[in-house]
């Protein structure tokens, strides 16, 4: 029987959480921005090659918050893994990265968190180098929901860490 795991995506408004999920689950992308209200739930079953097992990722797409403390805590209960998403092209979405992640690690101990910079297609290498101080060592993935770059590997890596 397939095991299910709850993955929660959090981050500011408009950073591309829904687009990331849509790219991962349906392999589609839309330029239209529709704000997520409350929560939206998707599911995708993937195989973890290392363990030769399948896992159903039940993905909770929460509405964007400019402060993680404003997130409805009941939505975060029982989470197996977090994906913290920010928009590489909008510094205001990662200026409080450290404190936001501290909040997560303090309140949800031992739960893996993947920190993801989305919209990598909108920035260049020089820009990434310029912000290295902020990103390193917290940010593990630079992805693009638009092109699909590294989206699959993000979810796969998180899924593997859950076993």
């Amino acid at each position: 029987m397939i095991t299910s795991k709850k993955i929660v995506l959090i981050g500011h408004f408009g950073v591309g959480k829904t687009s990331l999920i849509r790219r991962f689950v349906e392999n589609t992308f839309s330029e239209d921005y529709k704000v997520t209200i409350g929560v939206h739930i998707s599911k995708k079953t993937i195989e973890i090659s290392d363990n030769k097992t399948s896992v159903s990722l039940v993905i909770w797409d929460l509405e964007g918050q400019d402060d993680i403390k404003k997130t409805r805590t009941s939505y975060l209960l029982g989470t197996h893994g977090f994906i913290y998403v920010f928009d590489l092209s909008r510094p205001e979405t990662f200026k409080n990265l450290k404190s936001e992640l501290s909040f997560l690690s303090e309140n949800y101990k031992n739960i893996p968190v993947k920190v993801v910079g989305n919209k990598v297609d909108l920035v260049n290498k020089a820009y990434l180098t310029q912000h290295t101080g902020t990103f390193k060592p917290l940010v593990e993935f630079f992805v693009s929901a638009k092109t699909g770059s590294r989206v699959e590997s993000l979810f796969s890596k998180l899924a593997r860490e859950l076993f």
């Binding site: 029987m1 299910s4 795991k5 709850k6 409350g38 929560v39 739930i41 998707s42 599911k43 159903s56 039940v58 909770w60 409805r72 009941s74 939505y75 209960l77 029982g78 989470t79 197996h80």
Partner: protein, 272 residues
């Protein structure tokens, strides 16, 4: 010329103005008398004023008298509910009756069509049952349609919304997604109307009733079609409690396969 005549001449000279004034007042009084006494004349003068005042009054009624009238009506209705119901009942009763009659006619037509079009062993069995019991075939169909039926049972972990076990009579929406959304809705409602130890217990969706029964670390969602009333709810609650106790659900929460088998065995016969 005597003394009196002289005095009269002096009076005339000295009081000319007053006399004219008195005479003009006398004329005005006569006009007023005529206006008041003759209805037509009075109406010409007074009607425009009354009309103007009346229009103004009508305009101001909602603001001035509206609240008082509403309050008075509310009070009146509150104190004489029976009279109000009695007054409205014939009107509403007729409307409801007409609507129900119309819907029943449509339902009856649908049933007749269904009976005429289909041939099955189920129909033969129903016919026999109808003859034996003396109940009309269409009534038996209606009974079939309105009986509450369990469509889906899901045991869901509280908080995470992860499915611990599931049983579906008919293929419905993905259980993991349903369980996730139910948990999100439950969390939202319980957060929004935060009161000590209160849980969301029921959701109605289209033709389905979602019964939610809460336990310490999990809850059970039962999707029911048909008529879900208080009697059915009581029976369902008892059955769920029986299932949780008899089948050692708490001990098997981590064994999805075993729990699912137990769930299916217990609920597949609709023994409620």
């Amino acid at each position: 010329m005597n003394q009196d005549e002289k005095l009269s001449i002096i009076k005339d000279i000295l009081l000319t103005d007053e006399r004219e004034f008195a005479s003009s007042i006398e004329k005005k009084i006569k006009i007023l008398e005529s206006t008041v006494n003759e209805r037509k004349n009075l109406s010409t003068k007074v009607d425009p004023i009354i009309n103007k005042k009346l229009q103004q009054f009508i305009k101001e009624i909602p603001d001035t008298l509206g609240p008082s009238i509403t309050e008075a009506l509310k009070e009146e209705i509150k104190h004489s509910k029976d009279s109000v119901v009695e007054a409205l009942f014939p009107i509403l009763g007729q409307m409801v009756k007409r609507y129900v009659q119309h819907e029943m006619k449509l339902l009856s037509e649908n049933i007749n069509n269904q009976i005429n079009k289909t041939f099955s062993f189920k129909r033969l069995f129903r016919k026999a049952k109808s003859r034996a019991s003396g109940i009309e075939e269409s009534d038996l169909i209606i009974q079939d349609q309105t009986n509450a039926k369990i469509e889906q049972v899901i045991i869901i972990e509280k908080g995470s919304g992860i499915v611990l076990a599931k049983y579906s009579k008919t293929k419905m929406a993905d259980e993991d997604m349903v369980a996730g959304m139910l948990t999100a809705i439950k969390s939202f409602v319980e957060d929004a109307f935060k009161k000590e130890e209160q849980d969301l217990q029921y959701i109605e969706y289209d033709l389905y009733h979602i019964h939610l029964q809460n336990f310490s670390s999990f809850y059970i969602a039962v999707v029911v079609s048909g008529v879900y009333n208080i009697i059915y709810k009581d029976k369902l609650e008892d059955q769920i409690l029986k299932f949780v106790n008899e089948k050692s659900v708490i001990k098997n929460l981590n064994n999805k396969t075993k729990l699912t088998t137990k769930l299916e065995a217990f609920f597949k016969n609709d023994n409620i």
